[in-house]
């Protein structure tokens, strides 16, 4: 088995601040994802990456940057934190590239609060 490790678990930022969230996986999976979870809105895809140095935009990419410098790691940057923003950011990975029947393995999330 493997594990997805997200750091930090809790992140408190100030309005306008640039904030970086990190994710590591030891599954040796090709594809990694960043989702945002808001209460009542489910999970929305921000970015995903099918291999090292690849980036694909999801439905919610505006206001975020991502980086996949190694197969095992995928980072997400909030370019300018919005006041009173509260959300959970979930990192996930899946084994193969392409195909629909993929199982996503999630980390436990980074909880962001912006003051």
């Amino acid at each position: 088995g493997g594990i997805i490790t997200q750091t930090p678990k809790f992140l408190i930022g100030q309005e306008g601040q640039k904030l970086t969230l990190k994710c590591q996986q030891n599954f040796n999976h090709d594809t990694m994802y960043w989702y945002r979870q808001d209460s009542g809105k489910g999970l929305r895809l921000i970015y995903y990456s099918i291999t090292e140095n690849d980036l694909q935009k999801g439905d919610l990419s505006e206001g975020y940057d991502a980086s996949r410098e190694k197969k095992s790691s995928f980072s997400l940057t909030v370019t300018s934190a919005q006041k009173n923003e509260m959300a959970v950011f979930l990192c996930a990975s899946s084994e193969r590239t392409g195909g629909s029947a993929e199982t996503l393995y999630f980390g436990s999330g980074t909880r962001l609060t912006v003051l």
Binding site: L43, G98, S100, A101, G109
Partner: protein
């Protein structure tokens, strides 16, 4: 535009009852429908899934019923246990890496 819809938003049942969680979708290209279970403080984890070529999938107390013509599916949890209390997400994908999630159903099972 919500491509995958879930109802109800929250559901309370008594221990031993069958909980029924509903899901509908819009995109006819979706062919894979996983259900994820999420406990507080954790990430979602795959519970059970179905391909669009099937109309039913069972795994222990968990059963998916799928109606392709109506673009609807449901998750039935038989003999519900307090440990089943969690948020359940219906999701869908086509032949891409993009998995679309519904807004979730929060299930509470009372002892």
């Amino acid at each position: 535009q919500q491509q995958v819809r879930q109802s109800p938003q929250s559901l309370t049942v008594w221990e031993g009852e069958t909980a029924i969680l509903n899901c509908s979708y819009e995109n006819s290209a979706f062919d894979y429908f996983p259900w994820y279970q999420q406990f507080p403080g954790e990430g979602p984890a795959l519970l059970i899934s179905i391909l669009s070529v099937s109309d039913k999938k069972e795994d222990g107390r968990f059963t998916i019923f799928f109606n392709k013509r109506e673009k609807k599916l449901s998750l039935h949890i038989a003999d519900s246990q307090p440990g089943d209390s969690a948020t359940y997400f219906c999701a869908a994908s086509a032949n891409t890496n993009k998995v679309v999630f519904g807004t979730g159903t929060r299930l509470q099972v009372l002892p």
